[in-house]
């Protein structure tokens, strides 16, 4: 059985929302601050008084999900699976601050209710009246991929046909500063935020890109071992390394994980390399944004130019590999195919 990406949508720190290609507008030098996501007009997607109650990450999640489904021509998927690394960070911080300031009395429960990780998937279900399977994964830098794998398994078991799967994370300068203070940041790279969704379907329409396979690796850190693992994965998929046309790489420059990215790049000599984090920043669910760029590259047969518009590639693009490697957290390979 094949699994296709019927449609995709991304709210990010770029004008990616509601675009046919990658994004609109020109890139600016971002420095290393947190670049917030660009919020669309949520009134189109969330009706009535519920909009006011929802935090920004919930609005972004719900709107991105709704727009993704619209694009895929589906009212209601069979299942919803979301990955989020930090969860609902703003409301968690808000409730913690209230606890300290009010000394555990007179607390407003709304930020507590919305602090729960699965509020994102739950609110999407509520908006769509989707009574199907509803799941939320939170495994740091692999949060999105374990969600994607869950959706994958569900579809392979033929329990469902259409699954909405997404990666959602908000972030802020305060958390970034705390990470810096505790020595978690090894380089100066900007952080982004995002709500990226995909409608997976076992039946393809039109020009849908196939989600051909995926593999997650947790017990290997060495570049050579991971490259061998990728080799095995591609063999299993019956795809030669030279057939990979696009490598969507999570490399962000000076990070210590660079060795792995370089090794994989060397293994895929024909691949155009898209280092997507230079556009959308680092995030726990950055791999969802990587998958978005990969799907759009194959679908549009182009790669982002400086202005974000698709510039036509000088060859046909059939295979894209999304690589996400985070030291001590794990590695993911996601393979896309467009015939």
């Amino acid at each position: 059985m094949q699994i296709f990406i019927q449609s995709s949508e991304a709210i990010s720190c770029r004008e990616t929302f509601n675009q046919k290609g990658f994004w609109e507008g020109t890139l600016r030098d971002e420095g290393d601050a947190v670049r917030p996501m660009l919020h669309p007009d949520y009134k189109q997607y969330i009706k009535g008084p519920s909009l006011r109650r929802l935090s920004m990450v919930l609005r972004a999640g719900v709107a991105s999900a709704a727009s993704c489904l619209q694009r895929g021509g589906v009212d209601r998927p069979d299942a919803i699976v979301v990955g989020t690394g930090w969860g609902c960070l703003e409301d968690t911080t808000r409730f913690l601050s209230q606890l300290v300031e009010n000394e555990e009395s007179l607390l407003n429960p709304t930020p507590f209710i919305q602090s729960t990780h699965n509020t994102i998937a739950g609110q999407i279900a509520l908006l769509l009246s989707c009574k199907g399977y509803n799941m939320t994964f939170t495994q740091k830098a692999l949060s999105f991929e374990t969600a994607l794998l869950d959706a994958w398994m569900l579809m392979k078991e033929q329990e469902v046909r259409q699954v909405l799967v997404g990666g959602v994370d908000e972030f802020n300068d305060e958390t970034r500063a705390l990470m810096q203070q505790e020595g978690c940041l090894s380089d100066r790279f900007f952080y982004g935020e995002g709500a990226t969704f995909f409608l997976l379907d076992t039946q393809a329409q039109d020009a849908a890109v196939e989600l051909a396979g995926m593999r997650l690796v947790f017990d290997q850190e060495e570049a050579a071992a991971l490259a061998q693992n990728l080799q095995d994965f591609l063999e299993e998929q019956q795809v030669a390394p030279g057939a990979i046309d696009v490598l969507v790489s999570g490399e962000r420059g000076s990070a210590p994980a660079q060795g792995v990215y370089k090794e994989v790049e060397a293994m895929l000599p024909q691949a155009l390399v898209l280092r997507y984090k230079q556009w959308t920043g680092e995030a726990q669910t950055a791999a969802a944004q990587g998958l978005f760029f990969a799907e759009r590259a194959l679908k549009s047969q182009g790669v982002p130019a400086g202005d974000g518009l698709s510039s036509v590639a000088d060859k046909q693009l059939h295979y894209a590999l999304v690589l996400n490697h985070t030291q001590k957290e794990g590695t993911s390979f996601v393979l896309l195919h467009k015939s």
Binding site: I80, G85, W86, G87, F95, L96, L99, V100, E103, E104, S105, L107, N108, P109, F112, I113, Q114, S115, T116, H117, N118, T119, A121, G122, Q123, A125, L126, L128, S129, C130, K131, G132, Y133, N134, M135, T136, F137, T138, Q139, K140, L142, S143, T146, L149, D150, M153, L154, K156, E157, T175, L178, M179, Q181, E182, L216, F218, D219, K328, E329, G330
Partner: protein, 399 residues
């Protein structure tokens, strides 16, 4: 043909004991672990009855032989998870297993991860923000995987109070899809000032002992702990001559899509989850011998769950009870702890009763089991877990 996935190891730590044996003894004796909390650093803790694990963090580290130099890496959450997941691994013989440890997966679940440590450090974070390491929910999972040398796949689910049931489902699928040989799956949550105050602000905490399914129930008692199970294929268990407690024979998740925190009045999500789990197990409602209910003791849950039970089982609702009156509602751990209780019911041929029940809910006319009952022929136990976000999960364990 679907593989048979069996349970070959159990681990639990809760207010009623620090091991499976201690928990079983308390369940048999009808002994609740709920009372005033000693270790939780809340200025309001004397206002509430809580199901606290009777060990300080220092006691836990001593019990687990955690290197004192590594103490700062842990939240109470990771310590509780390590206790229960470690016991499950030893019970299944995975501590000494000499196979490929890259094929051992860990699927954990939690609602707030390392929140207990976050909230202790939050007010003075400009001086010490070391909680930033332990706060993400996946951190405790990474630590447990490293300690127990579960070197394969790992992830963490967070779907509020049904989290651990969903971890067991994901674990089942990992084995069925050939992505792991054996999976340690379950859930954990430590009591936190954050959740205590959150639930209090929602006005769903009973200041007395909780009274699941009683007309005069006033809310839940929060608890803490961890419950983990080892899952593997029946062939794998047979090959290594492992003890088999039973099978995870059915499961399902569905969404109530009614309200962020409240269950639908007729229990739509709960009904759908139970019916789909029965279908998955290839069972009829009448095949179920015992139900470990979600049974939080809130006005909303027990009525909604009760109505769902009547919709699924009609006039013949099997003996049911909620073990939350023993352990408190342990949130992300609850479905793991209750999965262990359900498997123990199967293994021991015992139906564990609820506690603190006096008066049936008039609209329901359902009476939970109030006395320990022997049931040597028991074949199938169903366990319900429902959470915020409309998340409804059902597991079925079979002989």
């Amino acid at each position: 043909m679907a593989q048979q996935i069996v349970v070959s190891g159990l681990g639990i730590i809760s207010a009623i004991g620090n091991s499976v044996a201690e928990n079983l003894a308390a369940l048999k004796a009808g002994r609740s672990g709920i009372g005033p909390a000693e270790h939780l650093a809340s200025r309001r803790k004397s206002d509430f009855m809580l199901g606290e694990v009777k060990l300080s963090n220092a006691d836990l580290m001593k019990m687990l032989e955690v290197d004192p130099e590594e103490a700062s890496k842990h939240s109470r959450t990771s310590l509780l998870a390590l206790a229960a997941a470690g016991e499950a691994c030893r019970d299944a013989g995975l501590d000494l297993w000499d196979g490929d440890r890259g094929r051992l997966a860990l699927v954990s679940a939690t609602t707030v991860g390392g929140m207990d440590k976050t909230e202790r450090g939050f007010a003075r974070r400009d001086q010490d923000a070391s909680f930033i390491h332990t706060h993400p929910s996946g951190d405790a999972t990474n630590l447990v995987a490293a300690y127990l040398q579960l070197l394969g796949y790992r992830t963490t689910l967070s779907t509020a109070c049904s989290s651990a049931a969903n971890a067991l489902m994901h674990g089942f699928r990992l084995i069925q899809n050939g992505l792991a040989d054996k999976v340690v799956a379950g859930g954990v949550d430590a009591l936190s000032v954050f959740t205590l105050n959150g639930f209090n602000a929602l006005m769903i905490l009973d200041q007395e002992w909780c009274r699941p399914f009683d007309e005069h129930r006033k809310g839940l008692n929060l608890g803490e702990g961890a419950g983990f199970l080892v899952l593997e294929s029946a062939e794998s268990a047979a090959e290594r001559k492992a003890k088999v407690y039973g099978r995870l024979s059915g499961f399902a998740n569905s969404n109530d899509a009614f309200h962020q925190t409240a269950s639908s009045p007729e229990g739509d999500g709960a009904t759908a989850a139970m019916e789909a789990a029965l279908r998955k197990a290839g069972l009829q409602a009448g095949d179920i011998d015992y139900i470990n209910a979600h049974g939080t003791g809130t006005a909303n849950n027990d009525l909604s769950e009760g109505k769902a039970l009547k919709r699924v089982f009609g006039a013949q609702v099997p003996p049911f009870a909620s073990t939350k009156a023993y352990t408190g509602h342990t949130l992300g751990a609850a479905a793991g702890i209750e999965a262990v209780c359900s498997v123990l019911a199967l293994e021991q041929g015992l139906l564990f009763p609820g506690l603190n029940f006096k008066t049936p809910i008039p609209d329901l006319d359902l009476q939970p089991l109030t006395e320990l009952k022997a049931s040597p022929g028991i074949q199938h136990v169903l366990s319900n877990s429902f959470g915020f976000g409309g998340n409804c999960s059902t597991l079925i364990f079979s002989k």
